[in-house]
């Protein structure tokens, strides 16, 4: 397979679409409405609905999807594939629907590689449009139930899309699916794909996977994460790589340390998926292939993705910014808190706008009981839902709606005689974005 950077799409309609998108972007910037990339993408798609296909042609495209970790893993994938020569096109801001993909590809026209974060509901569409070299499937659990399809409807759509992939041809021309074998829903979706690399990346949240997607039986999980259906023969597939403590085990190639820059078990899981996917890609022309070891080495130098896991300083106190959107994500962040200073105050901020889902009932699926003993402040537009949830978790807390004031309220008085531990700020999607814009 020849990979050739493409400066412009081949069809005249697509050329017109790109011009339209750029014109709208320019106008948007002139009007002071930001870079206007997504609105430009929409304009381009209106002129040429097949614009994504044109823009994706001749590029190596990696699609990253899943309920949790999409943006972070996309950022990690870019880092793993960046070799200092030639940019990687990516929708790093989390605009993960087709207009955002168009914007990313137009914005980096000469990149021969694209890494695209894909909303779970658009995976089939993107596979059809861009014929990806690799698809990374992280996990699938409940998220925003008022807005998008329930888990089982989604997994069946993924399965149909992945079953439709062409057979893996010579020279890496087929699509490699890198799938988390520890997640039964992901396993069910990826099963019929022609070329799957199964990675044992772990799963923190089993509650959406107890019903067997194959027969309706019951999925039984062992303590070590292995699983099988108690009725049919659906079970965890043979893995080519898995995580063992702080190491990545390659079934046929030994062990590598997972010393990565981002914190937490779930980021080690994301790193494992990224490293396996990076090594499965066809190399760029004239370049050595990226090995698993190379990818992990590059990930060791990545400290934050889109502000997530970054630390900012406010009034003399460090504040670590963490984002989680649903029960699985919050549970994973609590695991991360267990690894860090137990004296750190925790500010929780929850909104329920359209991007968050209008119903914060999921707060009752989050094990807030684990925060008992810490200083906890409930903040955000839905701080009252949080406060009631914390009351029933019997976690002492204050309620301060404004997130910045909440951070200040969380910092202990200065008479302790020792440096204050950092504040852990945990927000859901728009609560996180709003706070970042104000810091």
């Amino acid at each position: 397979m020849t990979i050739r950077p493409t400066a412009r799409p081949v069809s005249s309609r697509a050329s017109a679409a790109v011009l339209a998108a750029r014109a709208v972007n320019g106008l948007s910037r002139l009007l002071g409405r930001g870079s206007g990339t997504v609105i430009g993408g929409r304009a381009g798609l209106a002129v040429d609905p097949s614009l994504l296909t044109e823009l994706g042609r001749h590029r190596r495209v990696v699609l990253v999807t899943g309920t949790n970790g999409k943006t972070t893993t996309t950022g990690m994938m870019v880092a793993a594939l960046t070799d200092g020569d030639g940019a990687v096109a990516t929708n790093g801001t989390g605009s993960n629907m087709p207009a955002g993909h168009v914007a990313a590809l137009i914005g980096t026209p000469h990149a021969d590689t694209a890494v695209l974060e894909v909303d779970e509901g658009y995976l089939g569409h993107l596979i059809e449009e861009v014929h990806p070299s690799a698809v990374v499937l992280l996990n699938l659990s409940r998220d925003q139930l008022d807005r998008i399809a329930e888990v089982r409807m989604l997994v069946d759509r993924w399965r149909a899309a992945l079953a439709g992939l062409g057979p893996a041809g010579g020279g890496g021309a087929g699509t490699v699916v890198v799938a988390n074998a520890d997640d039964p829903m992901v396993t069910w979706a990826a099963g019929p794909a022609p070329d799957v690399r199964w990675v044992g990346a772990g799963q923190v949240w089993h509650e959406d996977a107890v019903g067997c997607p194959s027969c309706g039986g019951r999925i039984e999980f062992d303590d070590d994460g292995d699983w099988h259906c108690d009725t049919c023969d659906f079970a965890r597939p043979e893995r080519s790589a898995w995580i063992d403590g702080g190491e990545l085990v390659l079934a046929d190639d030994g062990r590598l340390p997972l010393d990565i820059g981002l914190p937490g078990r779930f980021n080690r899981a994301n790193a494992a998926m990224v490293a396996v996917a990076a090594a499965a890609l066809p190399p760029r022309p004239g370049r050595p292939a990226v090995t698993v070891a190379t990818a992990l080495d590059r990930l060791s130098r990545l400290g934050e993705v889109a502000g997530r896991f970054s630390t900012v300083r406010r009034r003399g106190t460090d504040v670590r910014l963490l984002l989680a959107k649903n029960p699985a994500g919050w549970t994973a962040i609590f695991d991360l808190l267990d690894e860090s200073d137990p004296g750190s105050p925790v500010v929780l901020s929850v909104n329920a706008r359209v991007a968050d889902g209008y119903d914060p009932s999921w707060l009752w699926d989050v094990p807030f009981e684990r925060l008992a003993g810490r200083t906890v402040v409930a903040a955000g537009e839905r701080c009252r839902d949080l406060a009631v949830r914390l009351r029933y978790a019997e976690v002492d807390h204050q309620t301060v709606a404004d997130p910045l004031e909440a951070i200040d309220a969380a910092v202990p008085g200065r008479d302790t005689g020792r440096p204050a531990p950092p504040v852990e700020f945990l927000g859901n999607y728009t609560a996180f974005a709003t706070l970042r814009s104000r810091l």
Binding site: R142, D146, R152, G211, D359
Partner: protein, 268 residues
């Protein structure tokens, strides 16, 4: 937070099949009941009863929302093993939400829209609604004929979040729980929300419903504690729940947008 116990009582709260009917955070109802009992000095036990094993005996059963396939499995299993129906015969209290509400009725639709047999604990029948799900804040005034709280006063209006595609019709042996002020509710054109009969209460409200409506929680606890049970339920400091209620009631669309009789209007 706990008030002194008048006399020690025990109570078992069972969350029914959280692995099948736990999709919408409704497991919180069981937690609210257990905590509000314990804060009054009642020795309450909370059991998360997953499917695939015998359902334990309890005084209060909570069923939550779930997806179509798991809903059918839950109904089949509960009918097959019979514990829940026997417990209700013996006076157990049931709070059934959304998919749980539908499956304690006479019949409900499966994913392919075929009617599936329910437990028949409530005389209600559910069919699939139109193309659009009912999704959004729901406010409903307690029906005049519905059970009353201590002192015989009606419960305050209900607030919650609905998210369902079913239309539920009440039969003659079921009474409406509430009348929709804003939102869809049962959706059958009669303006009702939820249903009750005996000690079985069904509703479409998530939130969870008992976290947003603690008066309903205390009503159910009073039933479960039996004669004189309400005496055990000393007032609690509910200022955080009250603040949440006030905020959500203010946030719901104005009552002028409520659905009129016989008219089914899509939400949002």
């Amino acid at each position: 937070m706990s008030a002194p116990a008048v006399r020690r009582r025990t109570l078992t709260v069972v969350v029914v099949y959280p692995d099948l009917l736990g999709t919408y955070g409704d497991g919180g109802n069981g937690l609210v009941l257990a905590r509000r009992a314990r804060w009054r000095g009642i020795d309450a036990t909370l059991i998360q009863a997953d499917s695939g094993r015998p359902l334990p005996r309890g005084d209060l059963y909570c069923l939550g929302g779930g997806e179509d396939g798991p809903q059918v499995r839950a109904a089949t299993s509960l009918i097959g093993e019979g514990t829940l129906a026997r417990a209700v015969d013996d006076g157990a209290v049931v709070l059934a939400v959304c998919a749980g509400f539908q499956l304690v009725g006479r019949s409900f639709p499966d994913a392919a829209d075929r009617p599936h047999e329910g437990l028949g604990l409530l005389d209600v029948t559910t069919r699939k609604g139109g193309l659009r799900r009912a999704v959004g804040e729901l406010v409903a005034d307690i029906d005049a004929g519905a059970p009353r709280g201590r002192d015989g006063t009606p419960l305050p209006r209900l607030t919650g979040f609905e998210n369902h595609g079913g239309v539920t019709t009440l039969g003659p042996e079921a009474r409406p729980l509430a009348r929709v002020v804003s939102g869809v509710g049962n959706g059958a054109g009669d303006g009702t929300e939820g249903a009750w009969a005996g000690r079985v209460v069904g509703t479409y409200l998530h939130g969870p419903v008992l976290a947003r409506n603690v008066a309903l929680a205390d009503l159910l606890l009073g039933w479960a504690l039996g004669d004189g049970g309400t005496e055990l339920l000393a007032p609690l400091d509910d200022h955080e729940e009250d603040a949440l209620r006030a905020e959500r009631l203010a946030a719901a669309p104005a009552s002028g947008r409520a659905r009129g009789a016989g008219r089914r209007t899509a939400v949002r």
